[in-house]
């Protein structure tokens, strides 16, 4: 079973409402805790956001597509380790990742020597990997 299928199942259980009261928090909490455990390598703030997106999906207030987009974009932070060659999405600036801040933002140095801070979703890893 895939992770998304597990979340689908939890959402379906919530919809069936097996309990008289408080079905939402029961199944959302299962999804949230699953996320916290599985995405343990993410920076704390991003991990919380992944858990939140999951809980909102299971609670029935977020579409599946949006939930998947949120989780995938937040996971992009984990792929940008120090030393990774990156470029801006348009490819106008190239550089190398220096460090990942606790909130998931990326400190990187452009090839021209300027040090910048960016959201990981604003950067793409270049072919060839590390610098």
């Amino acid at each position: 079973m895939t992770l998304a299928a597990a979340f689908d199942l939890l959402r379906e259980f919530h919809k069936r409402a097996p309990f008289l009261f408080f079905n939402g928090n029961t199944f959302a909490a299962i999804g949230r805790e699953l996320s916290y455990a599985l995405f343990s390598d993410l920076p704390p703030v991003r991990k919380r956001e992944v858990g939140s997106a999951t809980a909102h999906y299971i609670a029935g207030v977020l579409d599946r597509t949006v939930m998947v987009q949120v989780v995938e974009s937040l996971c992009a932070a984990a792929d940008l380790a120090p030393g990774t060659r990156v470029r801006t999405l348009r490819g106008s600036t190239h550089g190398v990742v220096l460090r990942v801040l606790e909130d998931g933002r990326i400190v990187w140095r452009t090839d021209s020597g300027t040090e910048l801070i960016a959201l990981p979703e604003a950067l793409a890893a270049e072919e060839g990997g590390t610098a």
């Binding site: 409402a17 009261f21 699953l34 919380r48």
Partner: protein, 78 residues
Amino acid sequence: MKLRLDLLKHLTTEDVIREAEATVHRFKPEPLFSTTGTGSLSSASTQERAREVAHSTALTQSLEQRARQSGQSGTDKK
């Protein structure tokens, strides 16, 4: 990114129950989703967001500790 299936093995029912109880006030008690097709989840306050960050960090540390202990006891058995 690698999913930490190794840590997931150490997640317990008690962990889930604690989180479910801590967030109960953000949910409607009635089965809204099954009757209307749209669920409900109120926004988290700044304090709650901070608590969730702290909780997720503590949970990760706790799971890693359990994994280490489990590994040790596994080694001891050998």
